[in-house]
Structure formats: structure tokens, C-alpha cells
């Protein structure tokens, strides 16, 4: 029988029941590989439920540094009878099926092209532990111990991780290490270890870190000077605010009084959350909210007000599969159009699109500068895959010299020395951005009325059409200025000259990069551009102009980014082909490569074995 043989290049998938404590054991597994110097990329696949439904944890191990999903599974660790049929079915031929053989495997599930490795997990736990919760929890630790023997995880690394996790709780350290030993010894005694797929220590991680995108957004907000936070819980955005509070409690306490240099309000809904952010922004504090699609929809009216009344605001949109409640714990990039054009009337918003935690951190901090500079909402478009999974990236850096850009805000002195009449909406500098004043600044200069109704340059209410049009034109000019302030797209040239290219963005980055390598190996050379912001910088238009055919990769059904490019860059729609992937799972490199090859009419690319739901040309 075929045996998958591989060192440091494989996919392993754990199948668990949620609420059974598997998350921390699985995280320890991934971290141990990272500590062995091997790039690793784990993805949590979880249901919208607290206890009892199937969850999966898919770990991509790649010495070459590929961090996206590859497609296919080489090792399945099955501890959930509910999903066993699917778990064994998904395994690549020659793969390894590790399962709890306390009960014999259902004969109907047998496959003669995979290797069965039975661990009597339930039996071992029944013998070792008396309490049912302990039996449940340690089962997870035992299979990690067994894996240490089966695929050569250094046992000392696991010990080190247990020590760190339970620092100061010696009893827990001892019992966890004992559980690891149980699995380790069982595997060693009963199987030929290691199996064909295994690990070897490398130095391929360098000084990289591993963290969740939401954690990085939160930290960026702490560094970027956010003080007012308002939110309403919504998966997958919740951990942004939880994480902000975690960091703020450590880093934002006034040493003298013990009081907080921040204020978090759990609002009654997303309407109130964005309203609070706008109120705070109007009053000069850096403020943000975090939400996802359903919240974004509720915020629409207020976002239009902030655009028109020109109030800074930051919104982190951690996208998930819609429409409506859709698949609330699955990933998608399906709020692009809703965010870019959120609200009624002629509205457009600034979007920043990070693709790894480091960029989450940077764009989060930058979003506050941009919102203040442009006096408008800035929406950071992350997603569940980037936000809630541990992603490996370069370490975070902060320039000590950096100062917050508070934008055009007149101080008391500036108002005092002002000889001409102050006009809130006067375009003094010709960049479409006017000078604002904060409430309470000066006793009799600079006060104005902020409103969502039309007004003239001096903020006086008017329904005079010409004044309205002048203001709308200026807002359009401000958006042109915004283009020059946006992060530039990241452009990668192919090794050979080509007139074909691909465009991708956000969490599609890793799988797209790997797909490009696969295609190149098969002789298809493509230039590539990763979008990082909206409005699109000139470089985006130039890239499109320079190519004849471009595939735009979207993780949504309607190819929303492709549409936005067509509308905003006024390109011929025929030129922009589309690859969409939107089944709720992060896209895979294999899926992207085979579909892109097909779109470019290239036949010599290895076709994908099996078409997955939601993947189409």
C-alpha cells in the first residue's frame, strides 16, 4: 500500500467535539512545531455552538513556508465519532487515520488505501482517571503525546510548553506531562515510529511570531492611541475588543491613580456602538468599534452621517460568511461592496485590507491617523480566517519617533490668532480636507454645528442646490486626496515577462502566493498584485492597464472586489476574469492554482482531484 512520505510538509486535521477542551491541546501541538523551527499554520473550523457539535483543527506544516491551506489531508486524528465517516473520507490515499479504537472501527468506514492507527484513548483514560471531566480533557493530551512518537515531535519542546502554560501550578504540570507520556509510550510500543510523515528540527522560523489577527488589531489600537471603544458582541469580531481590554489593563493604567486611560462601552447594539464612536471622534478622542457583516449593515445610516458630517471613526470589520446569519463561524470576504459604499446617497469609505497579523497591527494604528487626517470613517477589512486563527508573521515593530497625526484640528492659539472668519467646510488648502475644531476649545471662536443636513462652507444649514453640490464635489476631491495616502499595493513580477496577472487581497495572500509557485512550476508565469486599500492608488490602475488578462481572486460569490475595480478604475469588464471561493473555508492553493490555470486556458497544470463545493471558475 502507498505510504505518504514527507518531512516537514504535510496537512494534519484533528476532528473533535466542541466544548471538550481539545483547543488547548491542539494549540500546544501547533506551537510545538513552531518551536521546532518549522513554519506552521493552524486553522480552527468551529460551529456556531458552545458544546457538542463537531469542530476541526487543520494544521498546515510547511518547511517551505507556505501558510495558506494546501488542500487535502495527510493525517487525520479522529476523536469525534460523529464526523468519522467524513474524516476518513477526506484523507489522501496513503494517508494516516489515527482514531480511538476502544470501540472497533465501523467496517463500512474501512478504506484499504489509508493506514489505520488505533489508540485506545477512552480505555486509557478510564483506567487512569476517575472523574469524567478529567477523562475528557486528558484524552486530548494523550493523543498529542502519541503524535510526539508517531511524527517525531521533540518531547522536550512539549514539556517546555506545558511548563509555560501551567506556570506555578506544579500539580497540573505533572499531570499533563504524565498524560503526554501515556500517549507517547503507547505509540512507541505498538507502532513503528515514526510513520512516513514526520518532523525534523529546522531553523526556518527565524524571529517570526504567531498570533491572531484580532489580537494584532487590538494591539494596534492600543499603540495607535484609541481611548474610546464601543461594541456589541458578534463572532468573529468579539476577540478584538476582548483583546483590547486585555492589553489596556496591562498597558493603559495610570500609575498614580490606578485609573484607566481608556473607556470601553458594551453598547446595546451596533447602531449605538458606531454612534458612540462618532460622538467620541467628533469630540476629539480616537475611537473604534469592531463588528462583522450584520453589524456593518446596522451601522449604515451612521456611517453615511460620519462621511457627510466629516467625523473620524474606525471600524474593524471581521468578515464572515453571509448574507444574514449565513455561516457565522466560517470565513468570507463578502462585505467589500457593503463597506466601500455603506449608507445611502453618494457615500464612499476608506478601506484598509491587511493580510497577516503584522499588517493588522500596522493598519490598525494607521487607521486612526488616516481617520483623523481625512476626517472620515476608516474600515479595516479583516476576516474570520485572519482574525481568529494563529497566523505566523514577522515581529511587530513600532517606531519610537512616530507621532500621532491628529489631522487638521485648530488649537485655541490658532483660533485666537485667526483674523478671517472660521469656516468649518472651507477648503483652505485645496485638498478637500477642511479644518475642524473640537468642542470646548475657545470661548468665542470656532464653534460650529455638525449635521447630516446640507450646509455651506461656514456650517450654516442650507438647501441651496449650488452650495450642496460644492460640498459634494469637495468631498469627492477629498477622496482623491485619500488615494495618495493609501498603502500601496504589493506587486510581484513573474520570472518571465507576461501580459497575464492575478489580483488578490487580505487573507487570500498565502494561498495565492503558493498557487503562483505551483503555476510557475507548471510553466504559467503570472504577475501578481495584492490590494491593500480602497480607494485604489494609481499603481492599481497602472497594473491593470499593463496587463491583457487578469484573474481577480475573491472569497465571495459575486466577485465583489472585481466589481469594485471595474466601477472605480473604469476597466473593461472582459479583461478581469474571476476566481471565487466561498464555501466558508479559507481557500486552498491547489484549488486556486487549478482554477486559475483553467481560466488562462493552460492545460498542463495538475488538475484538482476533487471539486469542492463553492469552488468554481
Amino acid at each position: 500500500m502507498k505510504r505518504i512520505e514527507s518531512v516537514n510538509e504535510f496537512v494534519i486535521r484533528f476532528a473533535n467535539v466542541n466544548g471538550t477542551g481539545s483547543a488547548s491541546a491542539n494549540a500546544m501541538f501547533a506551537k510545538s512545531i513552531f518551536r521546532m523551527g518549522i513554519p506552521v499554520s493552524p486553522k480552527n473550523i468551529f460551529p456556531s455552538n458552545i458544546q457538542g457539535l463537531p469542530t476541526w483543527y487543520e494544521v498546515r506544516v510547511s518547511e517551505k513556508g507556505y501558510l495558506g491551506r494546501r488542500g487535502g489531508v495527510d493525517i487525520a486524528v479522529s476523536v469525534n465519532p460523529q464526523s468519522m465517516a467524513q474524516d476518513i473520507g477526506d484523507l489522501n490515499p496513503g494517508g494516516y487515520f489515527i482514531y480511538d479504537n476502544t470501540k472497533p472501527l465501523d467496517l463500512r468506514l474501512h478504506r484499504d488505501d489509508v493506514h489505520l492507527i488505533g489508540l485506545p484513548l477512552t480505555d486509557i483514560c478510564r483506567e487512569e482517571y476517575t472523574e469524567s471531566r478529567q477523562r475528557q480533557l486528558f484524552k486530548n493530551v494523550i493523543y498529542v503525546g502519541a503524535l510526539a512518537a508517531l511524527i517525531d515531535i521533540e518531547f522536550s519542546v512539549l514539556k517546555e510548553l506545558v511548563d509555560e502554560q501551567f506556570k506555578g501550578k506544579e500539580k497540573l504540570v505533572a499531570s499533563n506531562i504524565h498524560a503526554l507520556e501515556l500517549g507517547y509510550q503507547y505509540a512507541l510500543k505498538n507502532f513503528e515510529c515514526p510513520i512516513g510523515v514526520r518532523l525534523e528540527r529546522r531553523d526556518a522560523v527565524g524571529d517570526k511570531i504567531i498570533m491572531e489577527g484580532n489580537d494584532a488589531l487590538a494591539l494596534g489600537a492600543v499603540y495607535g492611541g484609541a481611548t474610546v471603544v464601543a461594541w456589541y458582541p458578534l463572532t468573529p469580531s468579539t476577540s478584538v475588543v476582548e483583546s483590547f481590554e486585555k492589553y489596556a489593563k496591562r498597558l493603559r493604567i495610570d500609575p498614580g491613580s490606578g485609573d484607566r486611560r481608556y473607556c470601553v462601552a458594551q453598547a446595546e447594539d451596533e447602531l449605538a456602538a458606531i454612534g458612540m464612536v462618532i460622538g467620541a471622534g467628533w469630540n476629539g478622542a480616537r475611537s473604534f468599534t469592531a463588528s462583522s457583516g450584520p453589524g456593518l449593515s446596522l451601522m449604515a445610516e451612521f456611517l453615511g452621517l460620519a462621511y457627510f458630517a466629516e467625523v473620524p471613526a474606525v471600524l474593524f470589520d471581521i468578515q464572515r460568511a453571509g448574507p444574514s446569519t449565513g455561516m457565522p463561524t466560517r470565513t468570507q470576504q463578502s462585505d467589500i461592496l457593503a463597506a466601500a459604499y455603506a449608507s445611502h446617497g453618494d457615500t464612499k469609505h476608506v478601506l484598509l485590507i491587511p493580510s497577516d497579523p503584522k499588517e493588522c497591527f500596522e493598519m490598525s494604528a494607521d487607521s486612526f491617523d488616516l481617520a483623523d487626517r481625512l476626517q472620515t470613517p476608516v474600515i479595516v477589512m479583516s476576516d474570520l480566517d485572519l482574525g481568529m486563527n494563529d497566523n505566523m508573521c514577522d515581529p511587530l515593530v513600532w517606531d519610537e519617533e512616530r507621532e500621532y497625526d491628529r489631522g487638521k484640528v485648530l488649537s485655541k492659539e490658532e483660533l485666537e490668532n485667526m483674523s478671517e472668519r472660521y469656516g468649518r467646510y472651507l477648503d483652505v488648502d485645496g485638498d478637500g480636507i477642511c479644518y475642524r475644531t473640537l468642542p470646548g476649545t475657545h470661548p468665542d471662536k470656532g464653534a460650529f454645528f455638525t449635521r447630516g443636513t446640507s450646509r455651506n462652507e461656514y456650517a450654516v444649514y442650507t438647501e441651496f442646490g449650488e452650495a450642496y453640490v460644492r460640498n459634494m464635489e469637495r468631498l469627492a476631491a477629498k477622496f482623491e486626496t485619500a488615494k495618495t495616502l493609501m498603502p500601496k499595493p504589493e506587486i510581484r513580477r513573474a520570472k518571465k515577462p507576461t501580459s497575464d496577472g492575478i489580483i488578490y487581497y487580505g487573507s487570500s495572500n498565502s494561498a495565492s502566493l503558493e498557487a503562483l509557485d505551483m503555476l510557475e512550476a507548471d510553466g504559467l508565469h503570472l504577475n501578481a498584485m495584492r490590494l491593500r486599500a480602497f480607494p485604489f492608488a494609481q499603481e492599481v490602475v497602472d497594473f491593470i492597464d499593463q496587463h491583457e488578462r487578469i484573474v481577480v481572486i475573491d472569497q465571495n460569490r459575486d466577485a465583489q472586489m472585481r466589481k469594485l475595480l471595474i466601477i472605480e478604475c473604469e476597466v473593461d469588464p472582459k479583461k478581469l476574469l474571476s476566481y471565487t471561493h466561498y464555501d466558508g473555508m479559507p481557500m486552498t492553493a491547489l484549488g486556486a492554482a487549478s482554477h486559475i490555470a483553467k481560466l488562462f486556458g493552460s492545460s498542463n497544470v495538475t488538475p484538482l482531484r476533487k471539486k469542492k463545493a463553492g469552488e468554481k471558475a
Binding site: 517570526k208 449605538a272 473640537l438 447630516g452 444649514y461
Partner: protein
Amino acid sequence: MSYVRPAFRHPESKTNAEGFTRQDYEGALSTLCAGCGHDSVSSGIVDACFELGVWPHRVAKISGIGCSSKTPTYFLGKSHGFNSVHGRMPSVATGANMANGEMAYIGISGDGDSASIGLGQFGHVARRNLNMVYIVENNGCYGLTKGQDSATTDVGSKSKKGDPNPFEAIDLCAMALQLGATFVARSFSGDKEQLVPLIKAAMTHNGFAFIDVISPCVTFNNTPASSKGYEFVRDHIEATGKMDFVPVRSEITANYEPGFTKEITLHYGSVIHLYKDDKLDCTDRGSAMRAIQEHNDKGRILTGLLYVDPDSKDFHKVQQTVKQPLRDLDEEDLCPGARALNAINGSLR
């Protein structure tokens, strides 16, 4: 135009303790209908601020949408104002207050704005005890959209359209009490003698101060069959014990009228003096709720100060924010710096 401002300043116009004249608290000319109750409320706010001697620029005015919500343009012209979206004034005020707890916030809303589209935000800002004055200019109808019944319209009340309202009315004072507001009052736009001291006390209160002001809409809801018209209100109004507000600085010199028997000291030292009232105890939430209900049962409108908790803890206090306004903190206060970040990097490996 019912609120015409004199074009010149009278040389002998009085100044208050802070050196401001009444004109310093006025705003742009009103564009509301002549006789609209809302204009009297604006003028009450001007009087209260003038008499209190607040610095106009240290007040921020925030409103929703409606005729009532337009009024912040017509008072305190030296203050920043924010006319936001329909029913959402409370959230904007909350954010503004979170950013800077040192200023005074006056929120203006209507019965449509607060009792219908904004009922949720009204309830939540009350329970958060945000330090602000929240005034509903309650005319029992939607003025700006031309007179539809609102959620505070009483059963059977008839507007100009003529159909009696079949639905139960929401009593915003009762709701505010139930939801934890720490200052609750009701007044009438036609009774400035009562309204002005109430606004002054509300502005001095540290926490959420709610005033439901019955403010007739002369254009759409001032019929004899309307329970929010001038005629009906004048005939059915009843006041709690008379109240006198004594600001902190005049406390020593104030000459108390005989008969005041209850004294409530507010957060910053100002004092409310009350006549002993037969039933209502203004520091007892339950007593206030019962009094509202009893008057309602008799078809009477109870006005005046209904409840105050002088020891109230406002939102900032609960949140333990620093004394300094959050918006004034800079990089040095807020940014943990590169060394802390390197330590965080270390913990993520």
C-alpha cells in the same frame, strides 16, 4: 418666528457672575412655527445657563432629528452642536462624553425621537447614568413629518387629523425611573418658573438627568381634544412641591423662603430646597413611580422634580477612567512604546 433676538446689546444688560450677558447664551433665529412650545424650552435653557453662569463653550449640544432636535441651533450659539440621526442622540452623546467627561452635555430630543425609533438608546443611556441633561420636548406627535401620532400620545387624544389614538402611551419619566435614571423631572414649556430651576438642577446633577417637557405643537396637535395641547395641559397640570435651586456659590447668602423643609445637596455643592410635599419623597424612586401612577389614574399630569439621587455615580466613575479627558491624552500617555512591544513579540513565539 417666535423667538426674535434683539439686534443690539443693551448697554445696561445684566451680566452674570462669570461676566456673560444673557445674549451670550442665545443662538440663531428660530425657524419653528410661531407659538411652538419648543422655542420656550430653548429660552428656558438660555435662562438656566445664564443664571448658572456656565461657560457657553464648555457645553456641547447634541440632538436627533425632528423639530425639537433642530432647536440646539437656537440656543448657546457659542457651543458646539451635533444634530445627528433620528433616535440616536444618546449614543453620540455617550461617545462625546466618554471622550471628554469635563464638559456639560445637553441632549435634545422629541417624543418620536426618544419614545419610538430611539427607545432602545434612551433606555440604555439612562441605565448607564451618563452625566448629561436629556430633555425630551414632548408634543405627543411627529411635528416635522406633519403630525402623526407618537408613542407618547395618550389613548383617545385627538390631533388635528381627528382620529382618536387607540394605543397606550409610553410615559418616559416612568421608564427613566424604572431604568435607573438618577434625576427625573417633568415640566411644561408654558411654565418657565418651574422649568428653569429644573434645568439648572439637572445641569448641576452628576449623572443622567432627564426632563420630559410637555411642549405643544401648535400646528398639528393643539386641538382641545389633544392631551398635549396648551388648553388641556393647563387644565390638568399639577406640580410636586415647589422647588428652589440654589447654586453652590450663592449658598451662603441665599435667603430661604420660609416653608422649605427638605434640602438635597447635589454633587458639586449646589442645593435643591423643597417644600414638604404631602406624598412625594423625591429621593425615593418607588415614591416617585407611585406618584406618577396615581396622578395618571386621576387624569392629571404631575410635573416638577420627581426623583433625584444626589450620590449618583456617573458612567466615568463606574468605568474608572482617569480624571483628565481621554481626548487630551497624547502619545506619551497612550503608546506603550517599542520595548513593551518587543516583550509582547517574545511572548508570541
